[in-house]
């Protein structure tokens, strides 16, 4: 489940700060970069201390420093905006059969301490995740049976045929065997002096700010423009807007005024990072009735919902679970209007009538005269979601449905979602970068759990043998063209059967400055997600160019 649109209290406080500042005093925020930061050095808001930094660069821990993502690399970098794979520490991989993956390991890569990187390091890293399941956040060992190495390859034998698992396994970060084999307890190891293959190595570390320096022996050193990157522990939105940051990942209210207007050649790009959708609880009446779901879907003005939630920065999402426009090539062209569903109250009421609901005195009632009434569950503090839900409430209210809103704390919301204890819930879907995973997580009955038990995915509890069949075929399919066709069919399942009601795209809030470095991912050049964490920053950091002095 993907949710890039969240912003927490910190951001809120800062937003209040900015807006009050702007509204009360009409002061235009202006960026004043610190002159002591040289032109070859990038200031990035990527890592937040709590509020201080803990020196933890163990790439397998959830609490690691963000820069560990720039020091340790995977075999393949998967970009979740375009869904494209970029060969990285592996020059490529092949599946001789659906249960065997052969990675060809890149030659000439060195660890930052000068030792050569070999297939043995890859096998060692995989084994480490097996030995310490707490590190296996992606769950790769649910697929892997055995791993073997040759001089140039790593061969992974899967427990069962599963073509898409190759990609998941390929995104595992690789650590050096010669260092990690001597670590007494890797599960609590904070790796204070990281040695990786990545473009950056650790420079000065202090609890409120650290720097990383370009790795001179990096295997693509010629492509890395920034000599140093500074990562402060506190990056309030006021800081980001005024201190001349080069790159940040954050939603700023009124981004044109507060960020672009601040000068310093600031730009932004908010590509879709997932679909925000309403999950109907399919184990419950009336949501188990397709006519009701059709009625609900057609009664929505999704544009208004998206605009009210994301201040107009995000597009309406089609009912296909595909991120447009950057995944256009994956979309089934036969689906009308790219899957966008226009509001049509008349047709909505016809569907409701088929389900036994008619309008009486402005209320939508069933045969016994009881008004259609249910609750939408969203998470407390997710303000954009709440604004979206309130708009939905208004629109459904307009055709006579009594909609209540419940917003428990995020942990309680998460539990309600997983346990299926809701009527309709806000949630994120898709955006993994893999068409298979996007649909498998949404539709597969493998994840089906009775209400009251935690489901890892498929929160809406969708159970359709046709979808299952498509997914299992996908697992056996190596041919990309055939995969694409299966993807088309899965989109049609979502489009026709409405297991979720797509609303709008959740944004990836990339803020960049062209003052010192150019070549940021953008609408014109959407080569990678603009996010500052996980492995896609490797794509960005090896793509930027220094701005020449005039």
């Amino acid at each position: 489940m993907k949710h890039p649109t969240r912003r927490r209290l910190g951001a809120l406080v800062s937003a209040v700060m900015l807006t009050t500042g702007l509204a009360a005093c009409s002061i235009q925020i202006e960026s004043a970069p610190d002159p002591s930061i040289p032109k070859d050095t990038m200031l990035v808001a990527a890592d937040n201390g709590s509020p201080l930094f803990e020196r933890n660069f163990n790439p397998y821990m959830t609490n690691k420093r963000t820069a560990a993502w720039y020091m340790y690399e995977p075999l393949v970098v998967l970009d979740n905006v375009t869904g494209e794979e970029h060969p990285w520490l592996a020059t490529g991989y092949a599946l001789p059969d659906p249960s065997t993956v052969v990675f060809t390991i890149r030659d000439g890569v060195k660890w930052s301490d000068g030792k050569p990187f070999t297939p043995k390091d890859v096998a060692f890293s995989f084994d480490l995740l097996k030995k310490y399941p707490t590190f296996d956040l992606q769950g790769i060992w649910t697929y892997i049976d055995t791993v073997e190495t040759s001089d140039t390859t790593v061969t992974v034998h899967l427990k069962a045929p599963d073509v898409p698992a190759a990609q998941l396994i390929a995104t595992t970060l690789i650590v050096p065997e010669h260092i990690w084999k001597d670590v007494p307890d890797p599960s609590t190891f904070r790796n204070p002096d990281p040695v990786g293959t990545g473009p950056y190595t650790l420079g000065n570390f202090a609890a409120q700010q650290y720097t990383i320096d370009k790795n001179p022996t990096y295997w693509q050193a010629d492509k890395v423009a920034a000599e140093h990157i500074i990562l402060p522990a506190t990056n309030t939105q006021l800081d980001v807007a005024t201190k001349g940051y080069d790159w940040a990942y954050s939603f700023i209210s009124d981004v044109d005024g507060a960020w672009v207007g601040a000068g310093n050649k600031n730009t932004y790009w908010f590509p879709p990072g997932g679909t925000v959708a309403l999950f109907p609880n399919l184990t419950k009446a009336p949501f188990n009735d397709l006519n009701v779901r059709q009625g609900l879907s057609l009664a929505l003005d999704r544009k208004a919902v998206g605009d009210s939630a994301a201040e107009g920065y995000m597009d309406v999402a089609g009912q296909t679970n595909i991120l447009l426009p950057y995944q256009q090539n994956l979309l089934d062209p036969s689906i009308p209007d790219s899957g966008l569903v226009a509001q049509n109250q008349q047709k909505a009421l016809e569907y409701f009538a088929q389900a036994g609901y008619t309008q009486q005195g402005g209320k939508l009632v069933d045969a016994s005269g009881t008004q259609l009434s249910f609750t939408i569950t969203t998470a407390n503090g997710y303000n954009d979601w709440l604004k979206g839900v309130q708009e939905v409430q208004k629109q459904w209210g307009a055709i006579g449905i009594d909609v209540k809103v419940s917003s428990p704390q995020p942990a309680a919301y998460q539990l309600a979602l997983r346990n299926g204890e809701y009527d309709l819930a806000m949630g994120g879907t898709g955006g993994t970068g893999s068409i298979f995973r996007d649909f498998n997580q949404l539709l597969s009955s493998d994840y089906l759990k009775p209400v009251g038990e935690e489901a890892v995915f498929n929160y809406e509890r969708y159970d359709n043998p046709e979808a299952d069949e498509l997914l299992s075929q996908y697992k056996l399919t190596i041919d990309p063209e055939k995969q694409k066709q299966l993807g088309y069919q899965l989109q049609n399942v979502v489009y026709n059967d409405l297991p979720v009601l797509s609303l709008y795209y959740g944004g990836s809030w990339g803020l960049m400055s062209d003052a010192k470095f150019t070549g940021w991912p953008s609408e014109a050049d959407p080569y990678a997600s603009p996010k500052t964490y996980e492995s896609t920053p490797l794509l960005v950091l090896t793509h930027l160019k220094k701005v020449n002095d005039d």
Partner: protein, 353 residues
Amino acid sequence: MTSVTIAPGSADISAAPRIAGSGRGRAWGYVARKAGLLLLTLWAAITLNFILPRLMPGSPADAALAKLAQNGPVSEGTKAAIEAQLGVPTGNILEQYVAYLHQVITLDFGVSYTFYPQSVSELVSTALPYTLVLVGVVTIIAFVLGTLLGVLAAWKRGTWLDTLPTLAGSFASAFPYFWTALLLLFFAGYVGRLFPTSGAYGPTASPQFTIGFLGDAIYHAALPALTILITSLGGWILGMRNTMISTIGDDYVTFAEANGLKPRTVALRYAARNAILPNLTSFGLALGGVVGGSILVERVFGYPGIGYLLFNAVTNQDYPLMQALFLMITVSVLIANFLVDILYGVLDPRTRR
């Protein structure tokens, strides 16, 4: 006030137990009663502290998961992996309670869920000094300054020395903490660029005992300190002024004035000395509350104290950290309360009955 405290000598602290007249036994009985009450409340607080986090819906793993899900897709093994990383408590509630009591006694609160693999004591000991110094020093300054201004306001009541601090005090304390903080941050920090806007010391510095570092730390503490001072000063001024005014009306003050004592002596040694009792109680409680930090101020200024830590602990359902912090706060408030009770007994013998 009663006749007991009329004569300056009888208000002498060292003389107070003697004045009570009923012997040491009663005094010790009073202390023992208060100590017993302290132990009982401590146990209740410790137990509540165990129960409350467990009443919150969702587990820490759910909270961690909700957090991860915001950043990107999570996979199926993730929850199990997180639970294993965190060591989320297992066993029945009674076993957890016994384990918890053992932790409390040994002051070992285990590993934080949010900041794994850091231990709770590691986190608390990093954050505590900042809060103690910032909030502690400011609380003392606010108390001393506020009380003095209150005395002045009451003594010169009706003049500008009364109206100005009283009005300004009530005005400033009516502002919410974070609002004052945001205003200061914006104008003094951003527009004026007089003070840094976040952190406890310069970005590249590391804590050490040198003049340079201390200066840097004070410079960074200026805005949060000013915020707390502005918002808390009013309370002390008003509290002191109001009790002082009723004291001034008492016979012994008139008597002292009639005896031709200097007005300053009358104000400070007679009226203020008796009027300070309620303010002293609040001061004790405020000192006890210092360890809790100041959540909003620390949050707005990104100040690495206990308040910020508490905020993180609560939003991430970090049970071990929350329990340690709440326990620390409750225990200090209870102990401060106990000390104030004892001090009160010394200052005002009537409370000992």
